[in-house]
């Protein structure tokens, strides 16, 4: 396989490795704080000729959405990119996370008790109001458990079955929430209407100082602060993804992705490792769900959790480069931006240049554009925009059975063809001469063999 024959770069010295480990968080903090300062202090003070295009092409709300999708994409990257398990129902975890926020952070539709735990709203509000940060953990753990439950019966099977089961699972979760207003006569999650007015993200001690609002609702001014909150979450996901990949578990995932049989021969417990990939991915999905429900939309309803969202996240992972967290983050930003604001803005720009009417029509083609993008990526750049070195080799190597059926001969033949194509007249003459030198031996040996028979 190409991965094993590729020359291994020698491991960098410990001091350089630790330095490179700490280089990215600094850069990341600089970027996020820079974005915050840009939107909070710099843009309002600039003339509209400069600030206008910036807020038109990348409004704060879209930036927050991009950050939220980055959490989702990083989560799916653990499942698809690291462990190589195709999950087509990732939206299920997003939905469960959102509904956890709805259950624990919203005014009631059938609750008869009030419960406040550092909530972002006044104590007089009815219903359960738990702080955003605790809900994130609860939702993450819930989703991880759900991931284990759904993964357990299917992970013993082949990969393509898993894709189908996860797809079905995504559909069923949506159906559950759609029917949730009447489950054995009880209203569990509001049915088609979902749960609305979920608490904003509370700022706790920072809000008490009076510098920032006590709760980050969906106003333009509050949205700016969300860059920091969501940026922190994305940073945490990046950190976990990077560290876990270096560790024993991450290496086991990569081994499974590249060759399941060989990995199990080397003593990697297949089911447990795959289940852990599923659980970690689901944990991220839950965080993304809470971030979306509390930070972006402020409400959850089943219509938002369709198959299209699962494919959108998958596309972010594939477009960015499976297995490479930076690529995946870039992919998430690019596609989330295209999906929410970019296509419309491109339409506006094209309209102003050519006088067309694409502003309204271009966003309607987003499914076709995204689908085409996925197919073209698979055909021409399977490893993604910013590929990981290992993935690149993997995605361009035929699968095991293919290799076997082609046999080593065809690989040798390919090498020979390449050599022949490279060869010029001089080497040809050399080959001919050496052949002539060998041929008398051949001539002698041939009759000998005939005699013997």
């Amino acid at each position: 396989m190409a991965t094993s024959t590729a020359p291994r770069t020698s491991a960098p010295s410990p001091s350089r490795r630790s330095l490179s480990h700490y280089r990215w968080p600094i850069g990341y903090v600089v970027v996020i704080v820079g974005l915050f300062l840009l939107y909070h202090f710099i843009l309002p003070n600039l003339v509209t000729q400069v600030s206008g295009p910036v807020t038109a092409w990348l409004p704060v709300a879209t930036l927050n959405e991009c950050l939220m999708w980055a959490i989702m994409a990083l989560g799916l990257n653990v499942v698809v990119g690291y462990a190589g398990l195709l999950d087509l129902g990732y939206v299920a975890f997003w939905a469960l996370g959102g509904y956890t926020a709805g259950w624990l952070m919203a005014a009631p539709f059938n609750w008869t008790w009030d419960f406040h735990l550092f909530g972002a709203v006044a104590k007089t509000y009815p219903g359960t109001h738990i702080t955003f940060w605790l809900v994130i953990l609860i939702a993450g753990v819930l989703c991880a458990i759900l991931g284990l439950i759904i993964g357990a019966p299917t992970l013993r099977l082949r990969g393509d079955y898993l894709a189908l089961v996860t797809l079905g699972f995504g559909e069923v979760i949506t159906q559950f929430f759609r029917n949730s207003n009447d489950i054995a006569g009880r209203n569990l999650a509001g049915g088609d209407g979902g749960i609305s007015i979920i608490d904003p993200i509370g700022t706790g001690p920072f809000g008490a100082t009076g510098l920032v609002p006590p709760g980050l609702s969906n106003g333009a001014q509050d949205n700016v602060y969300k860059i920091l909150v969501l940026g922190l979450l994305v940073g945490a996901c990046l950190f976990i993804s990077l560290r876990i990949r270096e560790g024993r578990l991450g290496r086991a995932w990569l081994a499974i992705r590249e060759d399941e049989l060989a990995a199990s021969m080397m003593g990697v417990p297949l089911v447990r490792t795959k289940l852990l990939a599923y659980a970690v991915g689901a944990f991220f999905g839950g965080i993304g769900g809470v971030a979306n429900a509390a930070g972006i939309t402020g409400a959850v309803s089943p219509s938002g959790f369709d198959f299209g969202k699962s494919v959108l996240v998958l596309l972010m992972v594939v477009l960015g480069g499976m297995g490479n967290v930076w690529g995946v983050t870039v992919g998430a930003f690019l596609l989330a931006w295209l999906n929410s604001n970019g296509l419309k803005q491109i339409g506006v720009q094209l309209d102003s240049w050519f006088g067309t009417t694409l502003t309204a029509t271009l966003p309607r083609y987003n499914y076709i554009i995204l689908g085409l993008l996925l197919v073209l990526m698979m055909l021409y750049r399977r490893e993604g925009l910013i590929p990981e070195k290992r993935t690149k080799a993997l995605m361009n190597t035929p699968s095991r059975t293919e290799m076997e059926s082609m046999g080593a001969e065809s690989l040798e033949a390919a090498a020979e063809t390449a050599a022949v194509e490279k060869a010029d007249a001089k080497t040809d003459a050399g080959i001919a001469a050496s052949a002539a030198a060998v041929s008398p031996v051949l001539d002698e040996s041939t009759p000998k063999r005939e005699d013997r028979s």
Partner: protein, 348 residues
């Protein structure tokens, strides 16, 4: 579940409990299904009959779509996610052709000719789209890792859905067509609907079985499914055979699209995903790669689903996706190779 996993992986125990427990649980599940069916028959036989007839009608349609899945999987081991959406597109083509172009309204004996025309056009349409997809995308990915063609299929399915969502095609809402059924009604089932489905579906299924088991092309298909390189060495045109399989699958999806439109008299862009999942479950239930299995699986799922929706003891149509999904999960756990399939181990 926990006991299962523990029993299956514990290596030290001499007697492996896993398979035994698994078997017993499998029979318990089968028994529960049987009890549920009998309870439905006993409590309200008429309703059961009506639901069973609806189930037969839907099940035949599922079988048509499931055949497309199972044949493609059988020959190149690809779950063609776009297959359900191809079926959805052909329902839209059929609706446009029959209602807008040929002006079909009240269905009767006079609409047999438009039905035949629509069947031919939609089968050609389905076959053409499927073969083009194979030619443009899957063929180039044949030597790529498995994830690549699978994702390509997902992308194609997305494109098909996007096309159907355009306002000038079908729009993103459910679209009802002014097609009216007449004739006798038995237990809420239009007899002519059921007859039409049977008259169209059964010959198609028989023709498919004939093609695969008796003709030279069918022999080539089976050979390619078994060993592509071996088939190539025997002088079989592998690419042509695979294209032919895609054409057959697409044509079946096209025919199913016409029938589905006439039965439901509505079109919706999401039909493909929902019905595709059901049909694939049917294919897995029967044993993927097995033609008879796909038909039996389709019928079984159609009947279970319609009894769940219309029977005396059922969860109702709100939960039918979940019921089908439950069947899929139970199947994955207890009998992943399906009813007619043989257990296979992964090739090394």
């Amino acid at each position: 579940m926990a006991t299962l996993v523990v029993g299956g992986t514990k290596r030290k125990a001499k007697v492996r409990l896993g398979p035994v427990v698994e078997r017993a649980l499998g029979f318990v599940v089968l028994g529960l299904v049987a009890i549920w069916l009998i309870a439905n028959i006993v409590s309200d036989p008429n309703r059961f009959l009506g639901s069973a007839l609806v189930g037969l009608q839907n099940g035949l349609l599922y079988a048509l779509v499931a055949l497309g899945y199972t044949m493609v999987y059988g020959i190149i081991e690809l779950i063609n996610f776009a297959h359900g959406d191809l079926f959805m597109l052909s329902t839209i083509v059929a609706a446009g052709l029959m209602v807008s172009v040929m002006g079909v309204g009240q269905l009767g004996v006079g609409t047999i000719l438009p039905l035949i025309v629509a069947l031919i056009v939609c089968m050609a349409f389905g076959g053409f789209i499927n073969v083009s997809a194979e030619f443009l995308a899957y063929r180039r990915l044949r030597s790529a890792p498995k994830l690549a063609p699978l994702m390509t299929a997902v992308g194609l399915s997305f494109i098909f859905r996007g096309i159907a969502q355009q306002d000038y095609v079908n729009g993103s809402a459910q679209k009802n067509w002014a097609v009216v059924w007449g004739g006798p009604v038995v237990e809420g089932v239009f007899v002519y609907k059921l007859l039409m489905v049977i008259v169209v579906t059964v010959p198609l299924l028989l023709a498919m079985t004939y093609i695969v088991s008796k003709t030279k092309v069918g022999k080539a298909m089976r050979a390619v499914a078994q060993d592509q390189d071996g088939a190539r060495l025997m002088g079989i045109n592998v690419n042509g055979t695979i294209s032919f399989v895609f054409a057959l699958g697409g044509a079946l999806a096209g025919a199913a699209g016409v029938l589905y439109f006439l039965v439901q008299t509505q079109t919706y862009y999401d039909t493909g995903t929902q019905l595709g999942l059901i049909a694939f479950t049917a294919a897995v239930l029967g044993g993927i790669g097995n033609l008879t299995g796909a038909v039996v699986g389709g019928l079984a799922i159609g009947i279970i689903q319609s009894i769940n929706e219309g029977g005396a003891y059922g969860l109702g149509s709100n939960w039918s996706q979940s019921v089908v999904f439950l069947i899929l999960i139970v199947l994955m756990v207890f009998k992943p190779e399906g009813i007619f399939g043989r257990p296979t181990t992964e090739k090394v």
